[in-house]
Symmetry: C2
């Protein structure tokens, strides 16, 4: 069985947005064990959409559409498919009530064209839209299954995850369970990781092991297929254990976890609060932590000490130290971490000072970075990094190394 | 004349990456006045790629390919097209020398399969790869033009911009100039903007006016076509003037400018330095400013005062004020802005305090936000906002409103 994803919307063909819906659905279908052979994007044009559907019908068993379910006359996915399949469009009463309720709730008058959004292909299974107005729908005709999803990712993603997957599981009796698990690594490069695991990767079949690098991190996606879900899980556990025996030091989490969510979680477990002094990262470290709901329990805040003036006046780094050792130095990182910790009354203080580039600073090339970690009642540790990449890469990796060192500190106990 | 973009690579169909190449090329082709009617993505599979090319040949005058030009046996774009067009692949000596030089430069041994990257379709124009090894190529056969570009965006984008565009201009004698300009708005919603400009948008033909909303901002893309570039520019100027007469207050910049680059630019012009006290934004405002190279001339830094403890201990907000008025209040925003300004010795201090959500705080619902602006020697201004959206939306919009108010303050003079 194989699938094609057809995204409908002129904004795609004008390059105003990227087709992230196709990416999301491809990941989802891969997890369901359904092969995706083609993506197509087509504009808000009935003739060309019809042409795209005709082509897809010759090569796919499942066609997923995104977009073109809205209220305007540009939105013509349903209408085009209804015509091609010879099906009527009928009003779905539940969807209509939901749309009416939406207008009442937002205190706006409902215009006539909004009723169009409640129309569905006759005989289709309706997929509820819990984040917008237009419902999705799915039906099978002459051996081909059609699933229509809305275009906005905020509506499409939860609809597919909650209702679309279930429909496909039952329509295609997907008895083979696909279980997948992502292991997340930091502090090791993709090629070093692949070298360490070369024999495991070469011998892979079930589970498969797929490495992916990005943003200074590497992930391994393990995917196991089995009729028995427990057995699939056992296969994953076994492979994971073999991987972690070799490179466990660099594995910080699973699936959607990030270095930042992990840091918050471990701080909470330990009952520690954190404060940060950020020079080259300019606030990114604290921003990433505070973006997580509930961060206020463990993140006190800190100082963005972008200039030497702020390092001196706010964080008490003595002028002579800045003149002799410089801002990009081990003693400066040490003092920043210790003083921000004390100032904010936190259990641990972390500091970032270094050169993001593009120009060198104090004679150091871009990528020269010091990360200080000061824990109440302990010796302060300072880590020196030599990073490569653009200004952005260096800032991002610096903050991620901060989490990595913090997690090591938190794991070390004591 | 119309185009189709075919992206080749199984990583697209597995959802490991989004097809940003199609987005980039679509923007580029729109600027050249070439309509894009379809995007297709297909895996590293000769039979299915052949099928995709066959379909595209029936509906496009220009077919652009990205990906599949590398050294491995998975890379088969050139080979497939050579077979379909009955063309030989021949070694391009210049490309071969560039590849050899690359290996000498990086001090690595060149393996035999890398020579494959220097093969091009016989009779094609070779597009130089200045950021990688595989050259691109373009040729016209039986009224259809084929352009093959590498997959990595870092190689593809400069190749297309520098060599691909020139090839298309001359191959298609594109004498009509397309000039486009993006106007960027903040502080006004998409529907309010469209309503204010309804008659202009309805009457549009040359230039066209295309609104797009995202991340709390709205943009208008004006696109004019004319044989004479100066005349196209005049048409844009005229339409822009008509638009700005109505909604100029909300227009902060053009094209790739952002509220943050604009803020840095205006601060530099004015010779002012800025410091920020960030509560709900958690460092995002300073991070966005310091992400811009050269920010250190005007951004001093500031304090991320996520907890009341830091507001009190570091920024000197008195405990009684936090108890009576609360952290989410006009007086607190005022004091934060004034104190962070004084502490960091900046010309202007800006503060952000409020409720990002998901839970209410001090009895205020998410979206209740105060932004304070303290200028040396002037009365401090505090703006109250009522924002909607997710926690992330509220944080991002808060910081953007900060720029918007700062820009107003900078424009006001005095």
């Amino acid at each position: 069985m194989n699938a094609e994803i057809i995204a409908v919307g002129s904004e795609l063909l004008l390059g105003q947005i990227a087709n992230t819906n196709a990416q999301f659905l491809s990941q989802q279908l891969a997890e369901l064990g359904i092969n995706v052979y083609f993506h197509t994007a087509v504009g808000d044009n009935a003739a060309r959409l019809e042409q795209a559907v005709n082509v897809a019908q010759t090569r796919a068993d499942l066609i997923l559409f995104t977009g073109g379910l809205g209220p305007t006359k540009d939105d013509l996915t349903k209408e085009t498919i209804a015509r091609l399949l010879g099906r009527r469009l009928v009003t779905d009463e539940e969807a209509l009530r939901a749309i009416e309720a939406y207008f009442v709730r937002t205190n706006r008058p409902m215009t006539e064209n909004n009723k169009k959004q409640a129309l569905v292909l006759e005989g289709s299974a309706v997929l509820k839209n819990e984040h917008g107005m237009a419902p999705g729908m799915a039906l099978s005709v002459n051996g081909i299954t059609y699933m229509l999803l809305p275009g906005p990712p905020k509506e499409m993603r939860p609809m597919f995850t909650k209702y679309g997957r279930a429909f496909l599981r039952s329509a295609f009796s997907l008895s083979e369970r696909i279980e997948s698990r992502v292991l997340r690594f930091f502090g090791i490069g993709e090629s070093a990781l692949e070298t360490a695991l070369a024999d495991l990767i070469d011998a892979q079949s079930n589970p498969t092991i797929a490495p992916l690098a990005g943003d200074g991190e590497v992930t391994l996606r393990l995917t196991a297929k089995h009729r028995d879900g427990a057995e699939a899980k056992r296969l994953l556990d076994e492979t994971e254990a073999a991987i972690l025996m070799r490179v466990g030091r660099y594995c910080y989490g699973y699936n959607d976890e990030t270095l930042f969510t992990k840091t918050i979680e471990r701080l909470k477990e330990r009952g520690w609060t954190v404060a940060a002094a950020e020079s080259l990262t300019g606030g990114w470290f604290l921003e990433q932590l505070t973006a997580i709901a509930g961060a206020s329990a463990v993140v006190q805040g800190g100082v963005v000490c972008y200039t030497n003036g702020v390092k001196e006046q706010v964080l008490g780094v003595p002028q002579p130290l800045l003149e002799t050792d410089g801002a990009v130095s081990e003693p400066c990182a040490r003092l920043l971490a210790e003083n921000v910790r004390a100032m904010c009354g936190a259990d641990v203080g972390i500091s970032f000072t270094g050169v993001a580039g593009p120009d060198p600073l104090e004679g150091h090339p871009p990528g020269t970075v010091y990360v200080g970690i000061a824990v109440r009642g302990r010796d302060t540790a300072v880590h020196r990094l030599t990073l490569s990449g653009t200004r952005d890469d260096i800032r991002v990796r610096t903050a991620k190394y901060g989490c990595f060192f913090l997690l090591e500190t938190l794991a070390a106990g004591g």
